[in-house]
Amino acid sequence: MSWGEKASMMWVCPVYLDPKPSIRKETLLKEYKQKNRCSKFIDRRFGEYDTKMAPEDKILQRFTMERQRVHEKKDVYNLNEEEELTHYGQSLAEMEKFNDVVNSDDESEEKGLLSAELTASHFGGGGGLLRKKALGEEEEGGQRAKSRQELIEELIQKSKQEKRERQVQREEAQELTEKLDQDWKNIQSLMVKKTPKADKQEEKPKLEEYDMMVRELGFEMKAQPSEKMKTPEELAKEEREKLQKLEADRLRRMMGEEVVEGAQSQIHFSADDLNDGFVLDKHDKKTLAYQDGKWNMGEEEEEEEEEDEAEDEEGEGESSEEQESDAEEDEVEEEEEEEEEEEEEEGSGEDDGHSDLESEQESENEEEEEASPKPKKTLSKEEVKAQQEAAKAELPYTFAAPESYNDLKDMLRGHTSDNQRLIVARTQKSNHPSLAVGNKLKLQKLFGFLLEYIGELATRSPPELSTIDKLIPEVYALCQMFPDAACKAMQSILGDAAHSMEETLEVKGHAAFPTLDMLIYLKVTALLFPTSDFRHPVTTPALLFISQALTKCPVRSLQDLTSGLVLCSLGVEYVSFSKRFLPELINFLVGTLHLAVQDKASLGYIVVPPFRASGKYSDLLVLSSSESCRSWSKKSLPLSATQQLDLGNDPDRDTHRLTCLSTCLDLVKRCCLLYKDLPSFTHIFQPIRTLLSKHLSTQTLPEPLQELSSEIVEAISSMPVTQSALVFDKRKPIPLKLLTPKIVEVLDYGKKRGSTREEREKERLKHKYKREFKGALREIRKDSRFLAREKLNEVMNRDAERKRKVKELMGSLATQEGEWKSLKRKKK
């Protein structure tokens, strides 16, 4: 062992820091003593120099080794000792034990591998030397030394016995397996829809069959429990939960919190939804359901398969419907039989998109069903039917998506509003995005065209609002399908309108009220998009537009006023859920009420533009005669009144005025409710209160308006006027600056940060090297010191020895001398 080697061994060992002279004595000292000698004593006992081994282990190991050595020598020719028989160095007894394990039950004897007992019998000696012996004798014989023959006999017997046993076992297992198979087959037919393939497989070897069964079991879809029929309560609960979730989502958006990606699911898909566009509250029809005691799952599937061809079938469905309803008129007994037909027919009815009507009808009795699209009760049923037939006969069942706005117009021209809706619905169906690649784009365009069409319908005179009304569900459905395109289309409409208004404002300083189509667009916006969001790409601009119109458009006629009131209503609708503050709304309502004040002198409130305290148009709502109050009763104003009013005489005009006033008062009341939580409620409603209580003489108004007015005044004055002073939001107090130093335990001294990994590695290695180097030096020094000490000791010992010897010699010499002298003296 060289020095370095020894040293390194020392450093690896964690104890190198406290030097143990004992180690040195054992290693260094010995080496030192061996120095310059040609022969040396090496202890070759096992583990002598292995320091890691415990002494007990050493001893144990040595003992076994010794035994082995002895054994090797002794046992070469010894057979009848209690030593085991081996083959290929393996114990035969052991092998026999494993026999069963190796031989699986399917192993036939022919195919059997070379087994221990076989080899033993084949190679071991004569088969005729069998001697029957009882087991007991064997035991007895076991005591004495067995001869080879005996052993072999024993072996053969054993093996035979075992073979028999195995056979029995196998037969039993076979039986059990078969029984299990049989049982399984019985159960399997229960669990899986498809009956297992029967006899063919039996020709194949059993093993394969079994394997296949196992695999089948493994891979086959677990038989799923069929969906449970939902009770109405559960359905309602589910529905409520869904709505609650959507509501929570809406609230979150209202507060202006960030939208979590994917947090909202815009459309609720039923599990059975094929995503084929039937999103409109039809999903309840698609779920598994019992109908009149029959499970209509199979039919459901059929229905869905058929849906692609539904257009073709519809005609049939229609005719069957007619027949059926005829029958029903005569007799109701046949209902049972026609149930199935009914089923299909309803499915095809769906394609019409009459979902809203249908859902109502379904809850009603079936007789009403055939009256679906035209609820004109004045006509007799036959007439209605005849009309329907005639109308529907004209309509094709598929429509190409319109490529331009004019295409759409051509397509819809000359049809009744119901048919227009049907056409749009069918266009949407036959161009569903899942059917062809370009359909998505086509339908997105269709949405834009529909919006344009709605605008045109509203600008016609008279406006065809009922058609718009009919088209709303289609627009909604399209919007749900393509939110982005819908958003873009609506934005461009709003943007254009706002832009043109801005331009007029720049030139003239005021603008005309938005036309009816714009009012309709604003309403449609509210139907399609949530108005309560804190910020929404469509509804926020729409609300701004409303506010802009209410601030910048001067009221110069009763039409203007009606438009203004429509805008106010829209404004209230927009903020009804979020209860946001819309100052322009209050301003406009105050202005409107101001128009009804007769005596405009000494006002206790301020009228905000576009209204003026006095002027040409400031008496628009003042009644021309108090007579009209008595005959007045509240009626809904037509939306077309925003465009033109035919009010020839004063009484008509007064009626209109009173209606406007009542609308205005109602809106004020709603605002009171909406804004009752605002801290400045009293100041916001101060002008209204003054106006109603002091200036608008209630005596001249009809009863209902008087009541409304007093209700409002009461509501305003019942609000608390006191407020607690504003303070900043409570915040966590900022902790004082601490002056005691913060102690951070530095775990890695001198570790340089910010360098690259290689540099750090290099640094680390350098550091390690240095440490090692120092350690080595220290060890070497210690070694040399130790050696020096040893040498000194040696020298000292040697000197002492020499001294002692010299002394001895001198002593003996002295005694010799003394003796010699005494002898001399005696002689003398």
């Binding site: 939208v259 943007g495 998009f529 910020r535 301003n587 607690s724």
Partner: protein, 517 residues
């Protein structure tokens, strides 16, 4: 008069001529006349068509006249000096050459007269101005410059006639005046025009014309800029009034003061006030003379007061005007309408300047803040985006106003708003005892930006003042575009309540009051 006689003779003939032919003929005639003196009498034809009925013919005649007489002026073929009467010339001992010149000179005079009659045509006006320029270069009268170091008296007179014509009391001449503007670029023309706007009347059309003319005058800033003269004068240039800036200023000032002396309609008031601070006040020799006018305007109230602020600001700031109760008046200017008028941006810009002083008393600043907050309850979103930062800036500048948004001492005891809305004196309105609950209410405003701005009062305000100049001019449409032009929208939230009918949804407000048909 000879032209009149001729006219009668040839009136039938000229009426028959088509306009185009006339033009060709006229230009040929001009060529002929200029070629040889034989055809001198043809000048009557031109003067004839100058008085024709058809406008086209007149226009071509005007062009012919200007060509002819400018050429004659250049050739000096018009008689110089004092013009003898036509009869005298024939009888007197003049040479043939002189006779021709006298003849032409007479035609020239009559032409100018006719043109003055036709002044409503811009061509006629241009033609006259050309003549004036030509005469300036080649004076017709042998003038002694020491006596008349100006336009010949005749031209000042014709200017007066011209200006009188422009400032008609019956028709709106704004188009003509805008054409005339190019001549106003010339220093001497401008000078004489300015001094000829003298008499005045309270007729709206007239005032309108006067204002259009006066507002189109753009004054030079320095004497050295006075270079563009129509008539250059070598001698006595230094003494020429039209060449001196202070003279210009004096005339300018006199003109405006003369105009503003009379009662003006409100719209005119506004127009004047809009341009007052940057195109009138700087060019007056004594701007302080405007004090009366501005004070009167400031007292009127409403939008006019707002506009007067600008002029007052210039006077206070640059001319050391001391205006008592200025802030009180400013405070009383704050009405709901300030958020709706066109001059909103200008007003808030100035109010910001006036209230930026840190030497204002706290009560005053608090009163302004509270008043603005109260008014904010009726303001449109664009105004709110100005007002809210404005109020915050006030509070930042005057930290003792912080009690308006943070009053921990009175946190738990509710009290009625002590602020007196109708009090006119900001010192008495008890604004400091109040809190800005209005801004708290605006936290529920429908527009997200406003709501966010209002939310700032929940926490202590940052040190940095908001820059309101950027938001001053924002229009509603621009505000809208912020939402409309968002580059990409992750996913548009949709209404989940299924729409079935047009009038359904949203609380059925619309459906309750209106029906489809």
């Amino acid at each position: 008069m000879a032209p009149a006689k001729k006219r009668n003779v040839s009136s039938v003939k000229t009426a028959e001529k088509s306009a185009k032919k006339a033009k060709v003929d006229l230009s040929k005639t001009v060529e002929r006349i200029l070629e040889s003196r034989k055809h001198a009498n043809d000048v009557f034809d031109i003067l004839e068509s100058l008085q024709a009925e058809q406008e086209k013919e007149v226009i071509s005649a005007v062009a012919a006249c200007s060509e002819l007489f400018c050429a004659l002026l250049e050739r000096k073929e018009l008689f110089l000096g004092k013009l003898p009467g036509e009869e005298d010339a024939l009888s007197g001992g003049y040479s043939a050459e002189d006779k021709y010149r006298i003849f032409m000179r007479h035609r020239y005079t009559s032409c100018v007269e006719i043109l003055l009659e036709h002044l409503s045509h811009e061509h006629a006006m241009c033609c006259l101005m050309k003549f004036a320029a030509g005469e300036g270069l080649h004076p017709l009268e042998d003038l002694d410059w020491s006596e008349h170091y100006t336009f010949p008296e005749r031209y000042t007179l014709s200017f007066v006639a011209l200006v009188d014509n422009l400032l008609s009391k019956a028709t709106d001449n704004s188009l003509l005046i805008s054409r005339f503007q190019e001549f106003l670029e010339m220093e001497d023309v401008r000078y004489y025009v300015m001094s000829s706007i003298r008499d005045n009347a309270v007729v709206p059309v007239y005032q309108n014309n006067v204002f259009t003319l006066m507002s189109s005058i753009s004054m030079p800033n320095q004497e050295s800029e006075l270079t563009n003269f129509m008539v250059k004068q070598e001698a006595k240039h230094e003494d020429w009034k039209a060449a001196k800036l202070h003279e210009h200023k004096r005339v300018f000032e006199r003109m405006w003061l003369g105009f503003l002396k009379y009662k003006l309609p409100n719209s005119m008031y506004k127009k004047v006030l809009v341009i007052l601070h940057d195109s009138i006040l700087p060019y007056m020799s004594k701007p302080t003379l405007m004090i009366d006018f501005l004070t009167a305007a400031y007292e009127i109230g409403g939008a006019i007061s707002l506009l007067a602020l600008n002029g007052l600001f210039v006077l206070i700031h640059q001319h050391n005007l001391d205006y008592p109760d200025f802030y009180k008046k400013l405070y009383n200017l704050l009405e709901p309408s300030v958020f709706h008028v066109k001059y909103r941006a200008r007003f808030f810009h100035l109010a910001n300047v006036f209230l930026s002083s840190s030497h204002l008393p706290v009560y005053l600043v608090a009163a302004f803040a509270k008043r603005l907050a109260r008014l904010a309850l009726t303001a449109p979103p664009t105004a709110l985006l100005i007002v809210l930062p404005f109020i915050y800036n006030l509070i930042r500048r005057h930290p003792s106003c912080r009690v308006l948004i943070h009053k921990p001492s009175a946190e738990d005891e509710p009290f009625e708003d002590p602020y007196l809305t109708d009090e006119e004196d900001p010192a008495q309105c008890r604004a400091l005892e109040s809190s800005l609950w209005e801004i708290k209410s605006l936290q529920k405003h429908y527009h997200p930006d406003v709501a966010k701005a209002a939310l700032l009062i929940n926490t202590p305000l940052s040190e940095q003042e908001d820059d309101i100049s950027e938001t001053l001019e924002v229009t509603t449409y621009e505000l809208m575009e912020k939402d409309l032009k968002q580059p990409e929208i992750k996913s548009v939230p949709l209404e989940f309540e299924t729409a079935t009918r047009l009038l359904k949804g949203g609380g059925d407000v619309l459906g309750q009051h209106f029906c489809l048909a």
